[in-house]
Symmetry: C2
Subunit: 302 residues, 2 copies
């Protein structure tokens, strides 16, 4: 019961009011894979350059993540740099260098072809679909993330890909942009017509909302005293969510609810330190402890 993720593995330079890092392992697929690896074996499909060294490799290997789908190309890895405002509620992108990522054509090694659980990270929608086409047999659960750039620039391609997706995980603005509907409940009905059976709206420091045709579930972000770097929180959430769901084996209501909680739990670790530093070291015991504290955070009896 492995989980395949396609997306970016990158280097980031990040500046927040709590400090600055010049070059740290980043990329959506990295955060996703590290989070999901606490629940199931994870397989990465991504591309990196010559600058991806044993040091970065060790971070994934430390979590037993399968890198046989990680393509190495001549040149530099995807590089992103950004700066957060004083209150961390705004982020300015300073640099985006696609580098080897510009020519990324996801290719699944033979050992990945039977994967039944797939997460299509935020890349061009035709490339996301090409991953599904390479698989042998129909996957059991397909999740997808996207962004304003593809919603605007590759809308038809995205709609084609969404036909094959079970769970869409995007943020408020993306939901509104994709559906042309401000109200998130009404937006979910648009989304259901496009293919996905479930919409998860990621709301940053306000948590996440799941809309399923039969129920709605809201989970807060875990309140923390120290938030040092929000980078990757949404990707970590998706990884924790999909990882738990893959392990659970089916999308029944209780599993979906628990998966939301574990997504939020994992994301709460990511933001405590820069990059993947905290996420790469978190233990199962810490995850379970925080999940229990999460239950206390939201529990009441009428």
């Amino acid at each position: 019961m492995s989980l395949l993720v396609v997306g970016s593995v990158a280097f980031d330079a990040i500046e927040t009011p709590f400090g600055k890092v010049e070059r740290t392992l980043g990329g959506a697929a990295s955060y996703f894979a590290l989070a999901a690896s606490h629940f199931v074996p994870v397989r990465i499909v991504a591309i990196v350059g010559d600058d991806f060294s044993d040091k970065e490799r060790a971070v994934f290997k430390g979590r037993k993540i399968d890198l046989s789908g990680l393509e190495h190309a001549a040149g530099k890895s995807f590089f992103w740099s950004g700066r957060y405002s004083q209150n961390m509620n705004e982020r300015t992108t300073l640099t985006t260098e696609l580098n080897v990522f510009a020519n990324f054509k996801p290719t699944l090694p033979d050992t990945y072809l039977g994967t039944k659980h797939v997460f299509l990270g935020n890349i061009q929608p035709d490339l996301q679909r090409s991953v599904l086409h390479q698989l042998k047999g129909k996957p059991r659960i397909v999740g997808l993330d996207t962004m304003n750039y593809w919603i605007e620039g590759s809308n038809a391609q995205l709609r084609e890909t969404l036909k094959h997706v079970d769970i869409l995980t995007i943020n408020d603005d993306e939901t509104r942009q994709l559906t042309g509907e401000h109200n998130l409940l009404r937006a979910s009905r648009h989304v259901f017509k496009l293919g996905p059976k479930i919409l998860i709206v990621k709301r940053g420091e306000h948590g996440a909302l799941m809309v399923h045709p039969k129920f709605t579930f809201s989970v807060p972000a875990f309140p923390l005293e120290e938030v040092h770097d929000p980078t990757g929180a949404g990707d970590t959430f998706a990884g924790g969510f999909m990882g738990y769901l893959t392990k659970a084996g089916n999308m029944n209501e209780q599993n979906l609810r628990r998966a939301m909680v574990y997504g939020s739990v994992l994301a709460s670790f990511t933001v405590e330190k820069f990059g993947v530093k905290r996420l790469a070291k978190v233990t199962s015991r810490e995850i379970n402890d925080r999940a229990r504290r999460f239950a206390k955070l939201t529990a009441f009896k009428l």
Copy 2:
């Protein structure tokens, strides 16, 4: 077991993407009292002008709210007008006419003097404190709301008043402004030093967070398909919260959690229609139904 509220009773003109009303009953004390009246008898201390007619009086009487502390003065009632942006996440105040409210000196009728549960709505902090001084005996629970205007302009007076307060209910920005601390958990520790034992941060469409020295509790806003007018949601929340807590009789953890839920439940009705229109008509059955749906919205088992 009555609950006393001091604050504004006003007329509002409101424009949202869903429509426009030229003159409707408003004011923090109105929303608060209507919400709280579902749990306990409510006593209002406020001031209105000649324009306050039997029509408005009937709205309060319909909920058996005690108006013997409602002063009538020559002139016009407090008038506010505002316009919401297309997405309703921004509000522009167009007019604020204090009118008779400018000379408001809260005076408690004899029948109010033994009240043990008090909510000091958002007025000048010395006036809030004057209400406490008029009471015979120490109240059991005191809640307080305030705003940026008093935090900035009457800071010393506000701090004096906060010494006598158990529960502070303010929004994110006000919390940050009052404490000089962006992180809400750390901000709560500042607040505890000022007097209150409990901080409730109201977060609009994102719900509310309660920070108690021994626990933290998060409640979402109820997701609705139709939000027509957010005016008064925060005051309604405070009314539902204080009303439930007064009825419950003590501030134990389970009561505090439930009170948060009922606050959020009541607020979810207010925003469905303009002004107090929906809130004034909501039934106990509807409140209890929605509270049960609230439980489903947040429930999970690990």
